[in-house]
Subunit: 215 residues, 2 copies
């Protein structure tokens, strides 16, 4: 009956290590992270880290897998309802995406860096992208084609559009330390900045889609 108590403490240690590892890995990357530092931050001896996760690489894998799952669930769940308009779909993509980035501002930079440093170690993430991105792009392209055929927007490549959206959404947060220095007060209030980017990026993309007024 006390198994719950036991179990709780058990998970607690494991969880504390995972949380500390997440912080350390996300801010310093795999190479820069120290297992000793992670153990210290978690408040356990560093042997415990090896007891629970065996190696640094396996611990990293756990963190990466969790984050990949999180990203997948947060992002790749729009564009599926075929009857909602292109405008609304785009607004939804941008809003969801920016909300996720606001909640996980370090994630994009971390993912890209790790993939760059060692494709093998980060393959779990790349695989998921390879599966879901084409689905999302396919759905978006259909909506664009339909809207374009009705003269409501220009005929554009959904891949290019997704790239534009991702660029506009992600870059400012990825490059935050540089942007803060270069743009000073523009990024001072994080919430305000996030809201601004939502509006601004939606506007930018919609303008890109608007039929050229030459008739």
């Amino acid at each position: 009956m006390n198994k719950d108590n036991n179990n709780h403490e058990l998970q607690d240690t494991e969880h504390k290590i995972l949380e500390a590892a997440e912080k350390e890995f996300l801010s310093k990357g795999f190479a820069g992270a120290r297992t000793t530092t992670i153990a210290e931050a978690a408040g356990v001896t560093h042997a415990m880290l090896h007891y629970y996760f065996r190696t640094k690489a396996k611990l990293f894998d756990r963190v990466l897998t969790e984050k990949t799952k999180l990203l997948k669930e947060a992002i790749f769940k729009s564009t599926d309802d075929a009857d909602v308009s292109l405008e609304e779909t785009i607004r939804s993509i941008i809003d969801r995406h920016l909300d996720f980035i606001g909640a996980n501002p370090e994630l994009p930079r971390f993912m890209i860096e790790e993939i760059y440093n060692d494709q093998e170690r980060a393959h779990i993430f790349l695989e998921q992208i390879g599966i879901y991105a084409p689905l999302m792009i396919g759905a978006l392209q259909m909506k664009i084609d339909k809207a374009a055929s009705e003269g409501k927007c220009r005929q554009v490549d959904a891949r290019t559009l997704m790239l534009d959206i991702a660029s506009l959404n992600i870059f400012s947060f990825m490059a935050a330390p540089v942007v803060n220095v270069a743009l000073e007060d523009l990024t001072a209030d994080p919430d305000k900045f996030l809201a601004m980017r939502k509006k601004e990026n939606y506007d930018t993309i919609i303008r890109k889609l608007m039929p050229t007024p030459k008739d």
Copy 2:
């Protein structure tokens, strides 16, 4: 008279180390880079690396300083002629910027990662940004204000515009491994892709600037 020969060999070793260091640091970051690997790649004993550069950190500093200088010279040399039009200024900024990125595709990711990992170690770079970015933005804002007062474009914030341009230009290359997987054939031919981004991004920004057609 043979001093030239000697001098050449001398600089040659130093230069070979620097080149190898550049590759290693840019692809693996400071923490992931190994001085032994750098020495091997340069074809010298690893004691030579310490003889010439004393420490790993000092070697890193040399690479970072060089790259910062390169970036500064390539980017912060537009927008100064007050008589060239806003359109042409924007085209010039985008073209110069993308040419530079095409020639140094790893640089943005590297810079941002290093700043993120250790602001102190990368402060040389941040300082330069802090100096030049505001100048560039100031010049651009003046052109926008003028064009807007003449009804040629909307009144927009130059900081936001620069952020949009930087995002659209940099992200695709920074996230290349992910973009390649997500967008497949779009990025297959690098030259073609670069040319496409030049056109596309210019178009995106110009459309953003166009006065809303409601009169």
